[in-house]
């Protein structure tokens, strides 16, 4: 399937884009992350969380949606 990945803050500096569309045939967040870390090794050192449907998800969550978001540490206020 086609998957849109969005990156925020320091993560977008590493990927050099705020959004990209990839082809993804696996199942879980963990498999997606493996793929993204291979593409962007510098992500390995960064702390981040993954959101699907505007909700934080864990690594074993199934990817249902067409949009996945990578979020660095929150720093509001």
């Amino acid at each position: 399937m086609k998957l849109t990945i969005k990156y925020f803050g320091m993560l977008a500096e590493i990927t050099e884009c705020t959004e990209e569309t990839i082809t993804f045939s696996e199942d879980t967040v963990s498999e997606l992350l493996k793929m993204l870390l291979a593409k962007y090794p510098a992500l390995e050192k960064k702390e981040f969380q993954v959101a699907q449907n505007q909700t934080l998800v864990s690594e074993d969550t199934q990817i249902l949606n067409s949009e996945i978001v990578l979020l660095p540490p929150f720093a509001g206020g």
Binding site: G9, M10, A51, Q54, V69, L71, P73, F74, G76
Partner: protein
């Protein structure tokens, strides 16, 4: 208390002005069941890091999720505390050192409610809302803000 409230706009482009805050206070003077207001303001500090001074923070957010979260936090806070009203505003874009980036305003008949509510609200916002801050130094270099 199971009133459903419509999501309210939280994000403001750029700094939040003192005048905006003053006007917001003035609007509450017709609400005569209120006995206590508590207002929290977050202001951008000109921290010095390795000899370089922060001159601004540029805020971005994952807005769809942030608005959803702000709405959830509002509802939870109204359930937890006896509040008459609640307002939350957060900046997006560039806010200079000395300017205000967060304005949280709670009102209640009683002071104990506003003390507890303001602390809960500000801490929960900082913890749960996907907002990011790029701290820009005088020489235009930057680092990413981390909440402590």
């Amino acid at each position: 208390m199971n009133k459903e409230r419509k999501p309210k706009a939280v994000f403001i482009e750029g700094a939040i002005s003192a005048e905006f805050i003053g006007n917001s206070i003035a609007k509450h003077q017709t609400k005569t069941t209120i006995g206590a207001h508590d207002i929290f303001l977050g202001q951008v500090r000109a921290d010095i890091i390795d000899g370089k001074t922060i001159k601004a923070i540029e805020y971005t957010a994952y807005e769809e999720m942030a608005n959803e979260k702000f709405h959830e936090i509002r509802e939870a806070t109204f359930k937890k505390f006896n509040l008459t009203c609640m307002h939350i505003y957060h900046s997006l874009g560039k806010v200079n050192a000395g300017e205000i980036c967060l304005f949280v305003f709670v009102s209640s008949p009683r002071r104990v409610e506003v003390f507890n509510a303001i602390e809960y609200l500000v801490n929960t916002i900082k913890e749960q809302v996907p907002i990011f801050g790029k701290e820009i130094f005088e020489d235009q270099s930057h680092q990413w803000k981390v909440n402590s």
